[in-house]
C-alpha cells in the first residue's frame, strides 16, 4: 500500500477523532474502494466453498489503510463503522445485480451449464435482510448499527462495543432484540409454502 494513502487515511481518521464529520466522509471512498477491490474476487466467484469472509477483509483493509505505528483506538473505531457501511453497500449492490438477472426474482432451478451460481440463493436473502434492516433503522438506529457491523463486517461483540462506546452486554442484548425483530420481519413475510412448486 502506498504510504501516502495510509498517511492520508490516518490523518483523516485523526480529524474524525477531533470531531470533524466531513473528514469521515472523505475516508469512506478509500475504505469502500479497498474493500470493493478485495471483495470482487469473492463475489465474482460461483462456488459455495469459496465464501467471502468479511471479517478477514475488514481487518486486512484496516492494516493496509491505517498506519500502524501511530495507532489510536479511536481511529479504528471510526474505521470499523465505515467498513461496515462499505461492506453492506458492496454486498447489496452485488446482490441487486444478481437478483436483477433472475427473472422476476423467482427462484427456479434450471439445468445449467456445468456450474450454478450459489450467490443467487444468497442474493435474495441479503436483499431481504437489507430491506428489513432499513426498516429497523427507522425503529432503532443504534441497534441497526450493531446488525450492520455484525452481519456485513463480521465484527465481534467486543469490537462493536468498543467501536460504539458501549458495553459488550449492551451489544449482546441489542443484537438479540434486533435479531428477533429482523427474523420476525423476514420470516413472517417469506413465502413459506413452496410445496407445489417444481
Amino acid at each position: 500500500m502506498d504510504p501516502k494513502i495510509t498517511t492520508s487515511v490516518t490523518q483523516l481518521l485523526e480529524k474524525c477523532r477531533g470531531g470533524d464529520e466531513a473528514a469521515l466522509e472523505q475516508v469512506l471512498p478509500y475504505v469502500y474502494e479497498e474493500l470493493r477491490n478485495r471483495a470482487e474476487g469473492y463475489l465474482g466467484s460461483e462456488r459455495k466453498d469459496h465464501t467471502l469472509q468479511p471479517t478477514a477483509l475488514v481487518h486486512e483493509a484496516y492494516l493496509r489503510l491505517v498506519r500502524q505505528d501511530q495507532q489510536h483506538w479511536e481511529n479504528r473505531k471510526h474505521f470499523l463503522a465505515l467498513a461496515a457501511i462499505s461492506m453492506r453497500r458492496i454486498l447489496i449492490n452485488h446482490a441487486e445485480k444478481r437478483a436483477a438477472l433472475k427473472r422476476g426474482g423467482k427462484r427456479r432451478r434450471v439445468t445449467l451449464f456445468e456450474a450454478e451460481s450459489p450467490f443467487d440463493e444468497q442474493a435474495d436473502d441479503l436483499l431481504a435482510l437489507d430491506e428489513a434492516l432499513k426498516r429497523f433503522e427507522e425503529v432503532d438506529p443504534d441497534k441497526a448499527r450493531i446488525v450492520e457491523m455484525r452481519f456485513f463486517a463480521g465484527l465481534t461483540n467486543e469490537e462493536i462495543a468498543r467501536s460504539l462506546d458501549v458495553s459488550t452486554r449492551t451489544v449482546e442484548r441489542g443484537w438479540r432484540l434486533a435479531r428477533a425483530w429482523l427474523r420476525k420481519e423476514i420470516e413472517g413475510s417469506s413465502d413459506e409454502s413452496q410445496l407445489a412448486d417444481g
Partner: protein, 955 residues
C-alpha cells in the same frame, strides 16, 4: 412506531425473555393490559428470539440463511423406497415450508398408479391441525372436477406425520406455461376461464382454496389446467380458528403474501370472495408478467394490499422484467421472455394497448378491497371475461359515452380518426356556443391523441416483420418510414399539450419530490457510481497505476453520473385533481415518451429502420456489384480443386450480404466479410485479422463432408489412439455416429458485444466495461453473453443468420481430427488455443482457478477474453476452446435419432433443453473437447454462454 412505544416493547422483551413460559404469560397480561397490539408485538419478538440458531460463532452474511432456515424444511427421513400405506415413495419432487411432496406408486396386485404424496412436516402439525385434517379430508375427497387434482387418500404415517395422496399431475405452472408457449392474450384468458370454472365448482361444494397461485395451477401437456391443493391450506393453518389462549397469531399471516386478499392480510375470516380476489392476482400476473404489488418489502406489500389501488395492468406492463416482453406472431399479441433491447421496450406498448380499458377494469374489479365491490363469484368473473372475448360490453365497465365510443373506435380506428379531424375543423365554430362544447371537444381531441398511440403501436408491431434488410423489403421499409415520420412530426404538438396540462398539475411538494428521488430505480446505481468515482480519484492520486487507464475509468464514471443525475432528479410524479385530467396526462406523457424514443437519433426505431432501408437498398450493390471481380475470382478459385482442394470442386454463386476476403493461407479455406454488423477487419501478414470494436463478422466457408460425431470411452485393451476414443467421453456423447454435411458458412469468431449491440441496440452481457479483470478492462470486443437460446435465434434471424447445428459445430471444431481436442490426444498446451479454467483465474480468487484441473494452465484471463485472442483451429476458427459456451440449434437428446440431411439438425418433440458447445472460461480442460456437450433450458441466460453465428450457403 414511536420511540416511546418501541422503548416499551424493548423493555418488556428483555424482561420477558428471562422468564419461564407461565410466568411470562402472567407478566405480559399484567404489563400490556388491554394493549393487544403491544402484547402481540412483544410475543412475536420472543417467538422469533426462541427459534433455534447457531450462536456463539461470528456471523457472516450466511447467517441470515440460518435465520431463515427455521422456515425451511428439515431433512426428511422419507426417501425412495419408503412405504406409506399402499404407496411406495419413488422420489422427492418438491419441498417447502410445510413439508415435502413425493412421487409415489400404488403397486397393488390389480394396478399400478402414480400419485403425488404430500407429507407434512412435524412442526407444522399441531393437535388442532390433526383434527382438522380428519374433518376436511372427507370433504376434499368428494371434489371431482376435471380441472382439480383429486385427493385420493390420506393417512398418518408411523412418525405421526399426516400425508395426503393426490392425483399426480405432470404439468407446468400456469405462468410458465403461458410464457413458455407464448400464448396470446385470448389463449391466456380462455385458459384462465377454466381455472375459474374449477374454483366455482369447489365453491359450490363449500370448499375455499385459500392458496391459489400460478404454482398451484399446473397445465398438463394437453393444455388442461389442474388446480392443486384445494382446501389444504385450511387444514394446516389456524387462520380462521379461534386463537387458543396464549398462542400468538403471527402464524396466521398468509402463506403467500403476493396472492393474499386484504381480508387474509388482516387475519379476517376467509370466504369464497378471497379466492375471487386471488384469481384477480393470478389474472393480473399472467397478463402482465407482474404481481400487482411486486417489488415491495413484505411489510409494504401487506399495507398496499389493504390500502392501495394496484397499478393498472396496462401500466404495469411497462415495468415488466427486461426479459419478459412482447413479440408479435400471426397477428396476435404475445408475451414472451425472449427478447430485450430497444425494440422490445417499444413493443411492450402493444400489450399495454391491448390491456387498456376492459381488461384493466376486469382485473381491477376482481381486486377490489371491499368484498361487495368484487365479482360476486368466480363464475361472474369468468363470464365477464367471456363477454370481453366476444367483444360485448363488460360488467366491469360503466356504460359511459366515452367507453362506448372507445369500444367503437378500437374497431374502426382509422376511419374515425379522419372523421374526427374533419368534424373538429368544420364544426368547432358551431359547438363553441353550446354549453357542453368544451367537454365534447376535449373528448374528441383525446380520441385523436389515442389514435396516435394506436398508430405508434401499429408501427412497432410491424417493425419486427421488416427483417432482414434485403431488396424485397424496400417498399415495406419506405412505407413504414413515411408513417413514422408523420407521427414524429406531431411530437411537439403533443409535447405542448402535455406542458399545458402539467401547468395545471397540483404543486410538487417536498415529500413527493423526496419520494421520487428515493424511489428512482437508478438511485442506488448513482450512489455506487459516485463512490466508485471517488475511489478512482484516490487511485489517480496514488499514482501507482496506469494514469491513462484510470483517467478512462474516471471519465466513464463521470459520464455515468452526468447521465444518471438528471434522470434521478427529474420530476416523475404529476398529480391532478380531476381523474379525467390525470388520465389524459398519463396517456399524453406516455405518447410523448414513446415518440421521443421512436425518434432518438441513435437508438430510436426510426433511425434503425432508416439504416435498414439504407442497407437493403445498397446491399446488392455493395456485396454483389461492387465486388463483382472478387466474387468471380472466388467462385473460380473455390471450384478449382487445384487451388482449393478442400472444397472438392464446389460451385457456388455470389452470396448477397457477403464480400469475399480471400483464401486463408493457413487453412486453405475461403473467408468472407459480413458488412451488416461492422467494418472489414484488417488482415495481418500471417493471415489473421485484427478484431477491433468496430469489426464485423467474418465467415469461413466450411466444405461439405462426412465425419464421425461424438466420442466413446475406450473398451478393454483398446488403444486410446483409435478414432473418437476419449477417456473423458460422457455417456451422452455416444454413440459415435456418421454425419454427412453440406457446405455452410460459420463465423470465424464468437459474436462480439459490439456486433450484438448493432443488431439489437442493447448489450445484455454480464461482464462488460468497466468490469476489470487483473487490470484488463472488458470491452465490446469480448463475446456477447447473457443471451438465451431463444433470443439468440430471433436476433440472428434479423441479420439473416442462424445458429449452427450441433453437427456443424462439431464438424468445424474437429476440422478433420478424430482426437478429443483438435490439438491431439493430450490437453497440454491447450491454453494457447483458448481461455478456460486456469491459474490466472486462481490468482483473482475465482474458484474455477483454484480447482486441481486448472493447474498447469495459464491463459491470462479470469472471465472471457476478446474474441480471437488465442490460436485458431486447423480451419481458422477461433475460441472453439473455451471463452464462452456457444448455443447450437438442436434440441438436447441422445444421438440415436438421425439428423436432418445436409445439416444434421436433430429435433425432439417436447423438450425445451438446448445444447451449448465449446466450454467456457470457467470450465476445465475436459469441457473443451470437440465432442463435449453442455445443456441448458432455452431460456437460460448466463454470463458464460454466447453464440457463434452460422449462415446457409445459398445455392
Amino acid at each position: 412506531m414511536t420511540g416511546e412505544r418501541w422503548h416499551r416493547v424493548e423493555g418488556l422483551f428483555f424482561e420477558a425473555i428471562e422468564m419461564s413460559e407461565p410466568e411470562r404469560s402472567a407478566f405480559l397480561d399484567d404489563a400490556c393490559g388491554d394493549d393487544a397490539s403491544l402484547r402481540s408485538e412483544v410475543e412475536a419478538l420472543i417467538e422469533a428470539d426462541e427459534k433455534p440458531t447457531r450462536l456463539g460463532e461470528p456471523p457472516t452474511p450466511g447467517e441470515l440463511g440460518e435465520m431463515l432456515a427455521a422456515a425451511r424444511p428439515t431433512d426428511s427421513p422419507i426417501g425412495p423406497g419408503t412405504r406409506l400405506g399402499a404407496y411406495r415413495i419413488e422420489e422427492r419432487i418438491a419441498a417447502g415450508g410445510m413439508g415435502a411432496v413425493y412421487r409415489a406408486v400404488r403397486s397393488d396386485e390389480e394396478y399400478r398408479q402414480v400419485v403425488a404424496i404430500k407429507v407434512i412436516r412435524e412442526d407444522s402439525v399441531g393437535r388442532e391441525s390433526l383434527m382438522r385434517f380428519r374433518q376436511e379430508r372427507d370433504v376434499l375427497a368428494r371434489l371431482t372436477h376435471p380441472n382439480i387434482a383429486r385427493l385420493i387418500d390420506a393417512g398418518v404415517e408411523g412418525g405421526g406425520r399426516p400425508y395426503l395422496v393426490m392425483e399426480f399431475i405432470q404439468g407446468e405452472p400456469l405462468d410458465d406455461y403461458c410464457a413458455d408457449r407464448e400464448l396470446s392474450i385470448r389463449e391466456r384468458l380462455e385458459l384462465f376461464r377454466k381455472v375459474c370454472d374449477a374454483v366455482q365448482y369447489a365453491h359450490q361444494n363449500l370448499v375455499v382454496h385459500r392458496d391459489l397461485k400460478p404454482s398451484n395451477i399446473l397445465v398438463d401437456e394437453h393444455g388442461i389446467p389442474k388446480l392443486l391443493d384445494f382446501g389444504i391450506a385450511k387444514i394446516f393453518r389456524a387462520d380462521d380458528s379461534t386463537p387458543m389462549p396464549g398462542l400468538t397469531r403471527t402464524g396466521a399471516r398468509p402463506m403467500t403474501p403476493d396472492y393474499a386478499s386484504p381480508e387474509q392480510v388482516r387475519g379476517e375470516p376467509i370466504s369464497t370472495a378471497s379466492d375471487v380476489y386471488t384469481l384477480g392476482v393470478v389474472l393480473y400476473e399472467i397478463l402482465t408478467g407482474r404481481k400487482p404489488f411486486a417489488g415491495r418489502s413484505p411489510h409494504e406489500m401487506a399495507q398496499a394490499i389493504c390500502e392501495e389501488d394496484p397499478p393498472l395492468p396496462s401500466q404495469a406492463v411497462g415495468q415488466m422484467d427486461r426479459d419478459s416482453t412482447l413479440t408479435e406472431a400471426d397477428g396476435q399479441t404475445r408475451v414472451t421472455r425472449a427478447s430485450s433491447g430497444t425494440r422490445s421496450r417499444e413493443s411492450v406498448k402493444r400489450l399495454k394497448q391491448a390491456l387498456i380499458g376492459d381488461l384493466d377494469r376486469i382485473v381491477l374489479r376482481a381486486l377490489q378491497k371491499e368484498i361487495p365491490r368484487r365479482y360476486a363469484s368466480a363464475e361472474q368473473l369468468s363470464e365477464d371475461i367471456a363477454r370481453y372475448l366476444d367483444g360485448r360490453p363488460v360488467l366491469a365497465q360503466k356504460d359511459s359515452w366515452s367507453y362506448r365510443t372507445r369500444k367503437f373506435l378500437r374497431r374502426h380506428r382509422n376511419a374515425v380518426a379522419a372523421a374526427v379531424l374533419i368534424g373538429l375543423s368544420s364544426l368547432a365554430g358551431v359547438w363553441s356556443v353550446v354549453s357542453s362544447a368544451q367537454t365534447v371537444e376535449t373528448q374528441l381531441v383525446e380520441i385523436e391523441r389515442l389514435a396516435d398511440l394506436t398508430r405508434y403501436t401499429d408501427l412497432v408491431e410491424e417493425e419486427s416483420q421488416l427483417w432482414p434488410p434485403v431488396p424485397e423489403k424496400i417498399a415495406a421499409l419506405e412505407d413504414w418510414i413515411r408513417r413514422a415520420e408523420e407521427l414524429v412530426s406531431r411530437k411537439e404538438l403533443h409535447r405542448a399539450d402535455l406542458e399545458a396540462l402539467r401547468a395545471r398539475a397540483l404543486p410538487y411538494d417536498e415529500p413527493t419530490r423526496q419520494e421520487d428521488l428515493k424511489a428512482h430505480s437508478l438511485a442506488g446505481e448513482l450512489e455506487a457510481f459516485r463512490l466508485r468515482r471517488a475511489a478512482t480519484q484516490i487511485r489517480i492520486e496514488r499514482a501507482e497505476e496506469d494514469p491513462e487507464l484510470l483517467k478512462g475509468m474516471a471519465d466513464r464514471f463521470d459520464a455515468e453520473i452526468a447521465r444518471l443525475e438528471p434522470l434521478v432528479s427529474e420530476r416523475r410524479t404529476w398529480c391532478f385533481e380531476a381523474v379525467e385530467e390525470q388520465w389524459r396526462h398519463d396517456k399524453l406523457a406516455e405518447l410523448v415518451l414513446e415518440l421521443d424514443r421512436l425518434s432518438d437519433p441513435e437508438l430510436g426505431l426510426l433511425s434503425q429502420v432508416r439504416r435498414r432501408l439504407q442497407e437493403a437498398s445498397t446491399v446488392a450493390k455493395e456485396t454483389l456489384e461492387a465486388p463483382a471481380a472478387e466474387w468471380a475470382a472466388a467462385v473460380t478459385a473455390i471450384a478449382d480443386p487445384e487451388v482449393s482442394p478442400l472444397y472438392g470442386g464446389l460451385r457456388i454463386e455470389p452470396q448477397l450480404g457477403l464480400i469475399p476476403i480471400g483464401q486463408n493461407p493457413q487453412s486453405g479455406l475461403w473467408e468472407f466479410y459480413h458488412p451488416m454488423l461492422g467494418s472489414m477487419p484488417e488482415r495481418e501478414e500471417d493471415g489473421s485479422f485484427e478484431i477491433t470494436e468496430k469489426s464485423g463478422l467474418i465467415f469461413v466457408l466450411i466444405p461439405g463432408g462426412q465425419f464421425r460425431m461424438g466420442a466413446r470411452t475406450p473398451e478393454a485393451l483398446e488403444s486410446l489412439e483409435d478414432p473418437n476414443v476419449d477417456p473423458y467421453a460422457q455417456p451422452h456423447e455416444k454413440p459415435v455416429n456418421e454425419v454427412s454435411l453440406d457446405p455452410f458458412f460459420l463465423s470465424k469468431y464468437e459474436m462480439t458485444q459490439a456486433q450484438w449491440l448493432l443488431i439489437s441496440g442493447d448489450n445484455p452481457s454480464f461482464f462488460q466495461a468497466p468490469h476489470d479483470q487483473l487490470g484488463k478492462i472488458v470491452d465490446i470486443r469480448h463475446p456477447v453473453e447473457m443471451v438465451s437460446w431463444t433470443l439468440a435465434r430471433t436476433t440472428l434471424q434479423q441479420a439473416g443468420l442462424m445458429l449452427p447445428t450441433e453437427a456443424q459445430w462439431e464438424y468445424a471444431a474437429r476440422a478433420g481430427t478424430t482426437t478429443p481436442w483438435f490439438i491431439g490426444h493430450q490437453p497440454q498446451g491447450l491454453d494457447r488455443y483458448g481461455n478456460f479454467a486456469d491459474e490466472a483465474a486462481g490468482r483473482a480468487n475465482a474458484p474455477w482457478g483454484t480447482l486441481p484441473t486448472s493447474r498447469g494452465y495459464e491463459d491470462g484471463y479470469v472471465v472471457h477474453a476478446p474474441v480471437g485472442t488465442y490460436l485458431p483451429n486447423p480451419w481458422g476458427l477461433y475460441d472453439i476452446v473455451g471463452n464462452v459456451w456457444e448455443w447450437v440449434d438442436d434440441d438436447y437428446g441422445p444421438y440415436l435419432i438421425p439428423g436432418q440431411p445436409g445439416t444434421g439438425l436433430r429435433m425432439l418433440r417436447g423438450t425445451d433443453v438446448r445444447i451449448g458447445r465449446g466450454g467456457s472460461y470457467r470450465d476445465p480442460f475436459f469441457s473443451q473437447r470437440s465432442s463435449h456437450r453442455g445443456s441448458g433450458k432455452a431460456e437460460v441466460r448466463q454470463e458464460n454462454i454466447g453464440i457463434r453465428p452460422a449462415r446457409a450457403l445459398a445455392r
